[in-house]
Symmetry: C2
Subunit: 192 residues, 2 copies
């Protein structure tokens, strides 16, 4: 998505540790008309899939998922970082490692919001080592739902998450894939 | 908002401790067309205010804020629960006590996303004792921005948050105000 690459070059900031900050338009302040363009692009890319539910994880995926869901006429379900695991068996649980915060947390999703009848598009803002997306896929598998695809705003192509997911046959589409990143230059992977 | 009161009666669940669960349509699974109706109603209620920014707090306020922002042509800024406080002075910080999780956490907002030029509508899913909203107002005051109003989806009218905010002259509008709540009955406050 050309407009996204241009916006990253204009407003993104590279920080030590190969961290890309896009918090002026994606994940702290949110440019809503721009995120609508992102939602429309996800719809274009997954228009052949029978998506009836958008799945994401709190916190920064939620806004993008909600705007995107409007183009699919589908509800959003967001997995929650657990404060405490409720053991009454009414929720799916999985573990997700946070690269940024260097810790592992429990993620939960109420069972009644995902089941074998669902066709799911996973949406998130970033894909790097794939921990968050893998946690969501684990929940989808536990629920018996069908994973139709994964829509990512920005993929760090120099980390392994996207490659590993595609090697498993999962339809991952990232609107911008960063091939390499230094303080002074960001290079994107060519996409059709 | 009549449709919201009806939806709460139909799909809300009262849990011990006067907890109202609306997680099938508001804050775990999200009914996006319904949240669009909520966004339109906020626009109707605050149509006379020169709002140029929607402010909320992660996580469950984000989706509602994003959908609502479409009706105001304004960006969303969401305050973050801090993993670690960055002391370089480029962010506002405040403390928020969580009623549900019985703990206090630090909340941050990057200074460059809120300043004296901003006219802010605060949006959140719930108002009970007002801790989250008071934290956001504290950040607005520190930034020099103007608070135009507070839009809440569901207010627990039997707790003090809404009353105290209105006593300070803050324009709080809640789409549904619960006057009382038992296992078998939810009563709403009459509103114009």
């Amino acid at each position: 998505m050309k407009a996204l690459e241009e916006r990253i070059l204009k407003d993104g900031q590279v920080r030590p540790g190969q961290i890309l900050k896009v918090d002026s338009f994606i994940n702290h302040q949110m440019d809503i008309p721009f995120i609508n363009e992102i939602g429309k692009e996800f719809k274009r890319l997954f228009s052949d899939k029978p998506v009836n539910k958008i799945l994401t994880i709190e916190a920064s995926g939620i806004g993008i998922a909600c705007i995107t869901a409007q183009y699919f006429n589908a509800p959003v379900v967001f997995a929650k970082k657990a404060q405490s695991i409720n053991l009454d068996g009414d929720q799916y649980t999985t573990k997700v490692q946070s690269y940024t915060h260097r810790k592992t947390y429990d993620v939960i999703l109420a069972k009644r919001f995902l089941g074998p009848e669902d066709h799911v598009l996973v949406v998130d803002d970033f894909l790097a080592n794939g921990c968050a997306v893998n946690g969501l896929i684990d929940i989808i598998e536990k629920s018996g739902a069908t994973l139709e695809g994964v829509g990512i705003v920005i993929e760090k192509g120099f980390q392994d998450g996207g490659r590993e997911l595609r090697a498993r046959g999962i339809d991952v589409k990232s609107l911008a894939i960063i091939e390499s990143m230094t303080d002074t230059e960001i290079t994107f992977r060519e996409q059709d």
